[in-house]
């Protein structure tokens, strides 16, 4: 894919959180390496999936990209503008173009504000309209996400989980963004509601040419909605490829294990397929293992995996992997 096509470029991104000693001085005694040197690009108009298990750093990655966290090191550029060192007004201007949808629609909406106030907040903050004009825009946004504009003056508790997530989507669209980070937007919803929200996100993408970073642990949904998928393990991206490449010919042993662990709603397939069952739990990101981070659980571990960090390389056009044994 052409270089000019990338909307977001991330290179060598790191985000460490300090671990401090208890007491008055809170001396730093270590750090949690939530994101530890990752590089990738998000193309204009695509949905890039970011998958991995809890604690692998996928949410931190999303939040650091839109600068909810200041990166420890590395660069994030949005539309060829470097954002890592931006502050104040400059940052606010560019933030208008990027938004976030959170996992839990019960805690991401302020219970004391009406729906109208919640959705108009980005419009107020970014000075995109006032009075009647703003009111109209909010009604338009509600209609866009499939909610009755008459609900304007209700409060979040009057809505179901699926409806609340629609409200969160409407809010994220209020500032006309180009890029939306969707952080597990459907995991908190009931099974029969999930498809509604997935379809809504797809429709909106088509309509407005949105670019999504779709963070999830549900690999079935990711296969459905994403164009390309990146797999994260303990602060590193281990594999990135086109959706079909990744699901049909996964190269990294972690990706293989992860895919084989996904339950498939087909009892015949489920009872016959071969599974790779990983041993143990993922180690703590405050003290990651040396060499390849996956080596203590990897079925293919060789001696050099324990000491040398594998190189992030392109094994065929658009298929990236970090593993010695591929």
């Amino acid at each position: 894919m052409k270089d000019g096509n990338a909307l977001v470029k991330i290179s060598g991104l790191k985000k460490y959180f300090p671990v401090t000693q208890r007491g008055i001085f809170q001396r730093q005694i270590g750090s949690i390496k939530a994101v530890d040197g990752i590089s990738f690009e998000i193309f204009r108009g695509e949905t890039l999936g970011l998958v991995g298990e809890s604690g692998c750093g996928k949410t931190t990655t999303g939040r650091t990209i839109i600068r909810l966290y200041r990166p420890t090191a590395g660069k994030v550029s949005f539309d060829d503008i470097d954002m890592a060192e931006m502050k104040g007004k400059q940052l606010r201007l560019i933030r208008k173009r990027m938004q976030m949808i959170f996992q839990d629609p019960f805690s991401s909406l302020n219970p004391r504000l009406t729906i109208s106030r919640i959705i108009s907040e980005p419009i107020v903050v970014h000075k995109l309209g006032k009075g009647k004009q703003m009111h109209q825009r909010v009604e338009e946004l509600l209609a866009l996400v499939g909610l009755n504009p008459l609900y304007l003056n209700r409060y979040p508790h009057e809505f179901s989980g699926g409806q609340r997530q629609r409200i969160a989507v409407a809010r994220s669209l209020a500032s006309n963004p180009d890029f939306i980070v969707c952080d597990e937007p459907i995991s908190a919803l009931d099974v029969s509601i999930q498809a509604q929200v997935v379809n809504l996100l797809e429709d909106l993408q088509k309509k407005f040419g949105l670019t999504y970073l779709f963070i999830a642990h549900d690999l079935s949904v990711v296969r459905h909605i994403c164009d390309r998928v990146a797999v994260m393990y303990l602060g590193k991206i281990v594999e990135l490829a086109d959706r079909n490449d990744l699901y049909n010919t996964p190269q990294h042993p972690y990706t293989q294990a992860l895919l084989s662990a996904v339950p498939i709603p087909d009892p015949e397939k489920a009872k016959t397929r071969r599974r790779v069952i990983l041993k143990g739990d993922p180690p703590s990101p405050s003290n990651p293992p040396p060499g390849c981070r996956f080596h203590p659980r990897c079925p293919l571990t060789k001696t050099h995996c324990k000491t040398e960090m594998p190189v992030w390389r392109e094994i065929k056009s658009g298929h990236w992997v970090a593993c010695h044994e591929v």
């Binding site: 179901s160 099974v191 509601i193 498809a195 459905h224 895919l259 339950p263 709603p265 009872k271 990983l278």
Partner: protein
Amino acid sequence: MTIVESLLEIRNLVIEFDTPDGIIHAVNGVSFAIPKGQTLGIVGESGCGKSVTMLSVMRLIQQPPGRIVDGEIIYKDKDILSVEDSEIQKIRGAEIGMVFQDPLTSLDPLFTIGHQISEAQIHHLGVNREEAFKRSIELLELVGIPQAQERYNDYPHQFSGGMRQRVLIATALACSPSILIADEPTTALDVTIQAQILELIKKIQQQMGMSVVWITHDLGVVAELADRVVVMYAGQIVEEADVFQIFKRPQHPYTIALLRSLPRADHTSGERLESIPGAPPDGFQVPVGCAFLPRCAFAREICAIKGPELLSISADHKVACWVDIRTRNER
């Protein structure tokens, strides 16, 4: 079709809860049997009554605010709902074990895991500490805790989520129960850890030959594990069948819609997901007709007038729907 003996039978169970906003009708006339030595999957969305149904089997419904309005739960010729408290204590934990969703809150943080596994054995089996210790180590090894001897005296916070769930499974298995009830035990866990737990349960069931009741909202997990499936919606059973029937020839519009709305990890369809319109009811009102009616693609006039009963449509398949999906005619 082989007839499997049933171990426990739930008959016409009705459970309500009093809340400040009104009465919630959690379970509205549920009847099914737990087959011996098999895995029964109970599937449904949050609030459909699946957990409440199984909690009542353990007599763990707090009354008030809960109220068991009607029904019987027959286990070994006795009605669990009407026996003395002392009697139920002999069954709970000893003959029927339970594993809950959240492994952190189900273990007592103040006691070592060894103490918690031994407790049930000392209480129910009348063994002494030493015997209980020996057996607990065996159980910890069985559920795959490495260095079981050393970890016996560790506290819950020293274990990861997956390991805690293993400890809970060991606790539930401590008295060799004939029924193990698992209430979404893998929902809080990552997929690779979930795969480990599913393998473990399959292995243990083969070894011990107990019945397993697996409550979940994840149809993938059901396909993986269950022999038989009960699908619940709004406090009622809408379909019950063998696992292959449920996935290959679902007969209730809800089951059909649910299966169609699922994205799949094993192939790319490229099509839009077929979503189910609307949302599940909140349980404050018992609908006159069928509870799924407002979301149903097959609705007829009769559906609004009278709720369908759960009827056998073949030797091994029950469905509660006025419309025969195969012919699209009313039954």
